[in-house]
């Protein structure tokens, strides 16, 4: 029974590591009203990945949340979650959607 519990714990634990991170210019306080987030991932099974297009998918999801504004203050974080025999490669994007109204009010 204890061996089963130990095995289950080992199989379910996931170690997370950050592979890369980037931050772009952050807008002024007045423009930080609307936060937009997007995330996409791909499994890597037995060291075999299944494509790299998840990066573009995450960006497309982010852009869909802010179709008429600039997306600024972008934090992009690429991370890997490791499980036994399987790992998940994930990209998280987070930024501020700056609409035209907030920019014009900031200018005046």
């Amino acid at each position: 029974m204890s061996k089963l519990i130990f095995l289950a714990t080992w199989l379910l634990a996931g170690c997370v590591t950050v592979d890369s991170i980037s931050v772009s210019q952050v807008p002024a306080q007045d423009a930080r009203k609307k936060i937009v987030k997007a995330s996409a991932s791909r499994p890597v099974i037995l060291l075999i990945p299944f494509g790299t297009s998840f990066v573009e998918e995450a960006r497309k999801d982010l852009q869909a949340q802010c179709p008429n504004g600039d997306i600024e203050g972008l934090v992009s974080k690429q991370e890997s979650v490791a499980y036994p025999f399987v790992s998940i490669s994930r990209l998280n994007l987070r930024g501020y959607c700056v609409e035209k109204d907030s920019k014009s009010s900031k200018a005046t």
Binding site: D19, S24, I48, V55, L93, K100
Partner: protein
């Protein structure tokens, strides 16, 4: 029995390793994203790569052409909203590698240059030509009324 199991296990692992080595597996090393503009009509893309054998590489200058590729596609504007992706692709038994960089962004009309040129044209119409500091006898010092042609 034990020898048979080990032999089977060895063949299974060897088959998996060869199968894995026969295809190209791509891993994402790094990703970066800059501020995304609202004008997303024109997409510009660039790509560079370096093929390596056993991972031997003697310089890291191969990503630099990305900039010229993007500039050539957006000669009269700014490239904004840049997504850059660094990928490693492994070929046959990991003996051959390919390091690839992708950059994708949006070409936006250069608003700052447009505004600057408009300001210059406005200032030229409103003010007379500036004079240098050299003293000249034929140049009047009092205010001169500019007559319309």
């Amino acid at each position: 029995m034990r020898l048979q199991f080990n032999s089977r296990l060895f063949h299974l692992l060897a088959t998996m390793w060869l199968g894995f080595g026969g295809v190209a597996c791509s891993y994402v090393n790094a990703v970066s994203q800059t501020n995304i503009p609202r004008q997303r009509h024109k997409i510009v893309r660039a790509h560079t790569s370096r093929f390596m054998v056993l991972g031997f590489n003697f310089d890291n200058d191969y990503p630099y052409p990305l900039i010229n590729q993007l500039k050539s596609q957006c000669a009269n504007g700014q490239v904004r909203g840049l997504l850059t992706k660094d990928i490693t692709t492994l070929y046959f038994l990991m003996f051959f590698w390919s390091r690839e960089q992708f950059a994708e962004g949006y070409c936006v009309a250069d608003q700052s240059a447009k505004v600057a040129s408009e300001e210059r044209s406005e200032s030229t119409n409103a003010m007379p030509l500036a004079q240098d500091n050299t003293e000249r006898d034929d140049v009047p010092t009092e205010d001169v009324e500019i007559l319309e042609p």
